[in-house]
């Protein structure tokens, strides 16, 4: 293995680490943030569909019930997130992993 190969290998390693570093520091938290936002909107959607679950009578739940068969994942995730939610601040800052 000559010098140029070793330099090439080293550069590849640095590039990989740099990408990983950037990913961990910038892009992943950013995407996580977007995903969180999507989840929050989805929660709002489910709540708007089924306010009866909180004892708020809704004139549309007769119709939104038609969506239930297609909302399996959403429904489960929604319940999970409801259990898991601490404060609003904690939820919004979760991607920083303090």
């Amino acid at each position: 293995m000559d010098l140029s190969d070793r330099i090439e290998r080293f550069r590849r390693l640095v590039r990989e680490w740099a990408r990983g570093f950037y990913h961990g520091l910038v892009s992943h938290p950013a995407y996580e943030k977007i995903e969180k936002e999507a989840e929050d909107i989805e929660d709002a959607f489910i709540l708007a569909c089924f306010p009866d679950a909180f004892g708020i009578p809704s004139p549309v739940s007769y119709y939104t019930a038609e969506l239930l068969p297609f909302l399996e994942d959403e429904f489960e995730a929604w319940e999970r997130r409801l259990w898991d939610r601490g404060s609003y601040l904690e939820r919004k800052g979760q991607q920083y992993h303090f």
Binding site: A65, L68, F75
Partner: protein
């Protein structure tokens, strides 16, 4: 006149009688007519002395006339069963229980009856093809008004739901880095599809109600009934629906002039009061009074129905539906 004719009014004023009489009148005029009743008391069956179910059935002895009775209980159950069916096709067994709870709750809300009736109404209007005229005998005023106000209200709601759903899917798609599969995909999303179908359904409903339906209120010549009619006309206007005319029913017959017994005096007094009420109706309510029907001493059935039909000065000629969805 419009192909769909609705008769509404306070409980007990004679909506069913008037609807059936108008159905008979339309049928005698040569129109293929369907009378639809939503009254859980099955009064249409009593008028024609024949039992009707959920599917149109021809009325014996009257050509071109069919009738059907919608039972809200059955409709709610049918809706529930439909969802249960697709639930068991789509959802894992573990979640079925969880979701079933939601489902039952949704079908016990106070609005479920109205929604079920409304759905069926709209279905009947959509599939009114074999008939020239469909006459709706509606349930008492309050719930009918809520029913007719539904499409507008629900359209707004569905729009908001669709907007939320689109936004969250959009974000999920953006959050899928590199070759990751996004958690939700906009293309062919079954929830959005379902919401869109519903939206179209409500659009058809409000279009048909606005442009292909005529509304009449039946009232009795007493203060309560007149007051309720006035309120109802106001609420209809709030929903952008015009009331075509009013039918005064159960008018007291006037005694002959030479009679002066206790009964005759009673009748004369009543007739005087009722005239005042009717004068009030003519002056203060906008829709014209299209018929004044006297009380009968027996239940209105058979040949009496024809008599009442003759007293109904409502035109029968039907236009084809303009709003076809």
């Amino acid at each position: 006149m419009e192909p769909f004719v609705f008769f509404g009014g306070k409980g007990g004023v004679g909506k069913t009688t008037v609807s059936c009489a108008y159905g008979v009148k339309s049928a005698r005029a040569g129109l293929d007519t369907l009378v639809v009743s939503t009254d859980p008391a099955h009064s249409v069956s009593d008028v024609f002395e024949q039992s009707f179910g959920d599917d149109p059935q021809s009325v014996q002895g009257i050509d071109r006339l069919d009738a059907m009775e919608i039972d809200p209980d059955t409709e709610v159950q049918r809706h529930l069963d439909g969802i249960r069916q697709s639930l068991s096709d789509q959802v894992s067994a573990a979640m079925v229980n969880e979701i079933n709870q939601q489902l039952e709750m949704a079908h016990q809300t106070p609005g479920a009856y109205e929604s079920a009736l409304f759905d069926r109404f709209v279905d009947v209007m959509r599939e009114s093809d074999p008939y020239d005229r469909v006459v709706f005998d509606t349930s008492p005023t309050g719930s009918t008004l809520r029913l007719l106000g539904l499409p507008e209200f629900l359209q707004g709601w569905i729009d908001r739901l669709m907007h939320k759903r689109e936004k969250s899917i959009d974000l999920f798609e953006k959050a899928a880095i590199g070759n990751n599969e996004p958690r939700r995909v906009m293309d062919g999303d079954p929830v959005l599809n379902r919401l869109r179908e519903r939206k179209e359904f409500f659009e058809f409903a409000s279009g048909a109600l606005q442009s292909d339906a005529a509304f009449f209120f039946v009232l009795n010549p007493d203060q309560l009934s007149v007051n309720e009619t006035r309120r109802a006309i106001g609420e209809m206007a709030d929903n952008d629906l015009a009331v075509r005319g009013l039918v005064a029913n159960k008018l007291t017959p006037e005694p002959d002039d030479d009679e002066d017994g206790r009964g005759a005096r009673y009748l004369r007094d009543r007739v005087a009061t009722e005239r005042e009420r009717l004068a009030e109706v003519r002056e203060s309510l906008e829709p014209p009074l299209v018929a004044e029907i006297e009380s009968r001493t027996a239940e209105v059935k058979g040949s009496l129905l024809d008599e009442v039909a003759d007293e109904l000065a409502v035109e029968t000629a039907a236009e084809a539906p303009t709003f076809v969805g």
